[in-house]
Assembly symmetry: C2
Homo-oligomer: 345 residues x 2
Amino acid sequence: MAAEASNKQITLKNYVTGFPKESDLEVKITTTRLKVPEATPNAILVKNLYLSCDPYMRNRMSKLEGSYIDSFIVGSPIIGLGVAKVIDSTNPEFKKDDLFWGFTGWEEYSLITDTQSLFKIQHTEVPLSYYTGILGMPGMTAYAGFYEICSPKKGEKVFISAAAGAVGQLVGQFAKLLGCYVVGSAGSREKVDLLKNKFGFDEAFNYKEEEEDLNAALKRYFPEGIDIYFENVGGKMLEAVLLNMRLHGRIAVCGMISEYNLEKPPGVQNLFNLISKRIRMEGFAVFDYYHLYTKFLEMILPHIKEGKVDYVEDIAEGLENGPAALVGLFSGRNVGKQLVVVAHE
Amino acid sequence: MAAEASNKQITLKNYVTGFPKESDLEVKITTTRLKVPEATPNAILVKNLYLSCDPYMRNRMSKLEGSYIDSFIVGSPIIGLGVAKVIDSTNPEFKKDDLFWGFTGWEEYSLITDTQSLFKIQHTEVPLSYYTGILGMPGMTAYAGFYEICSPKKGEKVFISAAAGAVGQLVGQFAKLLGCYVVGSAGSREKVDLLKNKFGFDEAFNYKEEEEDLNAALKRYFPEGIDIYFENVGGKMLEAVLLNMRLHGRIAVCGMISEYNLEKPPGVQNLFNLISKRIRMEGFAVFDYYHLYTKFLEMILPHIKEGKVDYVEDIAEGLENGPAALVGLFSGRNVGKQLVVVAHE
């Protein structure tokens, strides 16, 4: 008879419109048998260790129809990326104590029946939490977005919005390693300070508290214009960037977080610049690039060990603090990669 | 002593805001000596035959600052692409009676001192006027935009706006030659009829008079979505297209004529689809592709001679009818490529 354990869960209370609130999520206590149920082949029962808070999750909190992604189920634990440890397995690919990262539930223990998209963790000489960030989806996003979409060249001028976030901080460091001039925008002095003094950006500015006129700010930092824009926010920032792009510039469209909580986001002006400056603007999704994950690890692990790349995490301790951490993404409360510790091992 | 000739000109009366009117242009009669002035090396004196009316010219009618293109000069003949014949030359590359296409003045006779961007006409077994359209800039635009920017594949679903225009009619025929499913939009029944019955589009619709809901129209013609959008208009059409693009779709941004006469065009919504559908949207300018012109002629000339590609021109006879022809572009009055005949030979 397998042990039963208390299983704390974060569930969605109701579909969200506008900005999500902590109260849209609920902490529930259930119990779980710490064993894959009988007659459930190819499944694993896992203990969740670290959960990732990512902007795309906002979308799944809405009632979606015909979207590229499914809505969360009201009353059930929300789903996200995380790092977990196998407790029991009927899957020949996984055995007890294996570590992996991939989609799991926001709860202490999860039963996972679709294991296809999980990544086994082989390198444990780095913090395990890194697999929610620099070594996980955000790291791969920065890598694919910068190297595969931006076609960067040494000496080019690179601008990154939401630059202190999980992805932006890495894009900036990749661009510096290549020999680019790099400027980031962020929403607080603390973040701007991080960009300049920890991540080695050439310049950074506080779009929220110190720059009324984004066009003027960009003109100041890029008197000759922007070759590459790594887009995380959309809206007014994109409008200002379009005015400041150089001929044959590239815009990698990774996210548009400024729009996710608006029922009807205002339209984006200045798109005519796409023609007059012959700009390539390309949206991408990290899962199209996971075949490069091994190559990515070979590049990034030495950089981490040699201290050539830094990574800042914003860590919420305890699953019960998950809702505040997740919701905080949309007001920019987090400094660096936001994650939630469910258990340290 | 060289002959003097009367030289009718079309000049810009004042910088334009909003929709241009015929009265923004003026017919002037001057006289010109039919000889390159003394001590003017490398110049040609030309007789203009056909002048091209192109949407980009609207931009030059405004007072521009820091644009990618210069404003026309008030009081002087406006400049455009045209077909002309050399009358006198001090340029070793050109001799009397040579024909070429390139930038010239809207007047009967022009002195051209910068001959660098002129294309000599070698093939005269086709109508000379074609060098304002299918064999000139619009033809190259369709060719470069479709083959170089859209990355088209057989069987893909292609949508073209302003499809009966100088560029759109060719893009659609190129796409059909490749084996694509092709739908075009245009602003009158006559144009829709041309698209379906002359250019062989699979479907066409009248966005102006018969389709209130562009999104619904696109859903009807593209139940599985659009792979390639050849963008000539911008605004509401682009918004509707973004909702109907398929995964990994491509948008070649050639023009945004719906916005050229608006002081402050409304912004474009639905850009988040760039991410969710991983769309590449790329602006381009034909002059980046003129090195392919010879290759283009080798492809298109046989198609014309064998009747595999058709081209419809809207011909205004007489320079004095140029202002109405040019202004008519912006209300969609023209059917096919709009040009002005100054002289037939």
